[in-house]
Symmetry: C3
Subunit: 199 residues, 3 copies
């Protein structure tokens, strides 16, 4: 019977190659240990990437809009649907959604002497815009700190001309955020009151 004559298969191995078989077992253990560690490393890394996926940088806030006239005492800021539009214009005011330092540039030529003030925050005095060519031309660049809820608009007055009769040539307003990645208010549905003007 087997018990006396025929040894179970494993026993046959052990006599002749017991150390080889042990070494093989250790090797197999080490390999699967390494494989498990490698897999664990990868899975942990992937999970970390997903959980800490870098907050998508908010796009640089910017606006480039034609300034084409005067309406209700304010310069009329048109908007043009091109890739520079990441800021909204409402009632000739540029709505600020993200905190940061902004570059504001205004240029244009008038047919009469005008005085322009740049407003951006209720409790702050406006910036009086220096003019050129006896008050008939503006090429003005300023840097200021703006924050969510600010609204940038430009009031204009001419001593002898009604606002609505003011004519402007080559008028343009550019606002660019210089320090992106500050606080940004959640985006609101784009309202329809913007002044659609072909650029």
């Amino acid at each position: 019977m087997e018990g006396e004559g025929v040894q179970p298969p494993d026993e046959n191995l052990e006599n002749g190659s017991r150390p080889r078989f042990k070494w093989k077992k250790v090797l197999r253990l080490v390999v699967s240990g390494i494989k498990a560690a490698g897999l664990l490393l990868c899975v942990v890394y992937v999970c970390l990437q997903f959980s800490s996926s870098p907050a998508k940088d908010s796009p640089i806030q910017r606006l480039r809009a034609p300034v084409t006239g005067c309406e209700g005492g304010r310069l009329f800021i048109g908007t043009s649907k091109n890739e520079y539009e990441t800021m909204e214009v409402q009632n000739n005011s540029v709505i600020i959604n993200c905190d940061g330092l902004y570059l504001i540039h205004l240029k244009g030529s008038f047919f009469q002497e005008v005085k322009i003030n740049l407003h951006f925050r209720k409790d702050r005095s406006p910036i009086f815009v220096p003019m050129l060519n006896n008050g008939q031309r503006v090429v003005f660049t300023v840097v200021t700190s703006l924050a969510f809820k600010d609204e940038v608009y430009l009031t204009v007055n001419a001593s002898d001309t009604l606002c609505e009769h003011l004519q402007i040539n080559d008028g343009e307003l550019i606002i660019v955020q210089l320090t992106p990645n500050g606080y940004c208010a959640p985006e609101r549905p784009y309202s329809s009151t913007v002044n659609q003007v072909p650029l």
Copy 2:
């Protein structure tokens, strides 16, 4: 004979520890299932990363060049081999390769009254540069939208002096892109007509 006395090895197990053996088999299945899922997750993630490797941000387009004289009615724009050079100068024109909003800054002092115009696009009127100190000094900053194929150059004229006789002190032109990651034309081999000037 075996049939009566000696059972095959597996049968020996089953009687005494059949549930334990089944449980081991299920465990082994679950473990290898988890390992396979983990591996699949990692491989899919790695492939996604490779396939969607974020387009390398194009470097911010910028130029800082000395303005040292006048040539052919244009201010002579030298170029200096330093890390600010990502834009090419040809025939005293700065070649624009990437769309975006740019800050252009010009400064310098002349020995006579001059008038400078900033040109950047064929079908657009140039920007008349306001001067200081009776037209003998310029410290001018403007923001404008430039696009591929635009060329920035500065025409200068003085009522009583030939262009080539104009002398400029501390002249410098700086152009910096404020909104990188717009469209960029594929890079062309750098041509040799630029004006090499030690800064």
Copy 3:
């Protein structure tokens, strides 16, 4: 005895399903090969990510500080603890740590005519700041190249008033780096000589 009647378990398989068994073995080899390759790919990718983890972009260097008076012939630059402070002010000088192109903006109103010069490097002539409103108002924007060890400060003099008696309204200095990721000196411990002023 076994030799004649009872074959070892493997032998039983071979006769009837030898090709099936071989095919299974090949399949198992292929699967573990794929698993090993997949695991290797992931581990190599993860290691590459760790070893080449993108140098953390240095934050855009910027300062927005109130300018509130005059001290030792220099405009007094206060500092306010808000998120715009990534630059240090010492002895009314803004310390430059990172190379790059910077936008410098100064605004303010005085009660007398003043002359202001913008200094930033020992061996460079200062920039004479153009004034408005008969020298009593400044709204000035300039772009210049600054480097580690530069110090930005503003000297001011008034023909008939002592520096310490000069009064300024709505004075503000803003400095913003336009080309981040240039060379930055290692950060030094923040010194205590800065002028703490509530903004």
